[in-house]
Assembly symmetry: C2
Homo-oligomer: 254 residues x 2
């Protein structure tokens, strides 16, 4: 007999953005695994165990969760946002593939969530209103030249770009380098949105133009959205500008 | 005095994936505007008006909703999935920009939702586990050569590709042409996921390889995810294969 493993997206952080099916699964779990700050968002339930770990220990956490489920527990692994976007679902699949064959028979359910870029976009308008891409700027898991190649390909072909993992203490220069590359492909006035901790008490959203964008405006909890040549800002009296990408696209600028 | 306008994402269709903040806003609205099948998902409330329209009338619907809010009503516009991804949020921004200046002072709130590709990805594993893009295949709002250029740029640079609006009666050949183009850039065994109406009673999910993918497997309610050269299938006894893209990427194939 084996237990069950849920991989659960908690959304951007506001309880109003946690789906009912995710709430139900969190209540049903005997053990919840996750990065500490995400575990802190899970409502307390008597008798439920919590196993926090560092955010770089994704594969170890995934393997521990799979092992606990294989021993018969109902186990949840939590991610902020959506678990399938630069988060725990891929780590669980990797651990499952390289682990004991018995893990492949586990009852595994992945529950999607509102990923960060959608919450940031909603806050400012509709910058992801036409074709877009989502990229991690971390060069821990891919070589930096590949990051550069993808930035050039995306901007050159007219995709709006949502950047995850834009900066960290160990990766201080990559975001400024990305802006430098994008300035070669996009107009100076292209809107850039910095959305930090959207929906949480410490939310901070800032819109600027590509020519003025600086990496120091972001931290690890920030999602950065860089428009395409078609992304527009609509000024509003007494309110921040609306940023959107029209549904109709003509040609990329590059 | 003016009312309020919410642009609301209903998620993929399963009530368990509708966020609590979206539910609250739907209850608070006096008038709900939307494409008929989306309106059918909104729980009935006595006294609430509904204004259904065809799915091609996005700008007209947006303008009517803005006008109703400007007259003092609490108005909701609903989209399936997330309103910012090929849906109503961009249409509302467009209508607002080209409409009466007074519309710019409206209290406008966009509430994100779980967009289709996240629900489809969760069903099969984590195909969006690394860099990916989302593209509409419709050439109603952009020229077809631009669609082709974006497909080549995305596949060539190693992005997984999520395709929205893959096919319709008026656009019968575009998806097969897209597969033909992608076969020039990606291995024959690249996983392709067809996810239709995920979470609803008529859900249908099918995984195949790029060499065998056929446009006829999709309809208007389908999101198609085409892997990168790094996307993997993990076979499981008595279960469908898990499809995922590793967190670590090396180099694109093209």
């Amino acid at each position: 007999m084996t237990g069950k493993l849920w991989v659960i997206g908690l959304g951007p952080g506001n309880a109003g953005q946690l789906t009912p099916e995710a709430s139900d699964a969190l209540r049903a779990a005997d053990i919840v695994f996750g990065y500490g700050p995400y575990l802190d968002r899970v409502p307390e339930r008597a008798g439920q165990q919590r196993r926090g770990s560092d955010n770089r220990q994704e594969i170890d956490r995934a393997a521990q969760a799979l092992a606990a489920a294989a021993q018969g527990a109902n186990v949840a692994v939590v991610s902020g946002g959506d678990p399938g976007v630069f988060a725990m679902a891929a780590a669980v699949c990797e651990a499952l593939e390289s682990g004991p064959v018995a893990w492949r028979e586990l009852d595994l359910t992945i529950l999607p969530g509102v990923t960060g870029m959608l919450a940031v976009a909603a806050r400012v308008g509709a910058p992801l209103g036409h074709d877009f891409c989502a990229m991690s700027l971390s060069d821990n898991l891919k070589p930096w030249p590949l990051v550069e190649r993808r930035l050039r390909a995306a901007a050159g072909a007219g995709f709006v770009i949502a950047v995850y993992n834009p900066i960290s203490r160990a990766r201080p220069w990559q975001l400024d380098k990305a802006f430098e590359i994008l300035r070669e492909h996009l107009p100076a006035a292209t809107p850039v949105v910095f959305g930090r901790a959207v929906g949480r008490a410490d939310e901070r959203v800032h819109v600027t133009e590509l020519s003025a964008a600086e990496g120091s405006e972001a931290d690890m909890a920030t999602c950065v959205i860089i428009g395409s040549a078609e992304t527009r800002a609509v000024e509003r009296p007494h309110k921040s500008a609306l940023i959107y990408t029209p549904r109709s696209n003509s040609v990329p600028s590059a």
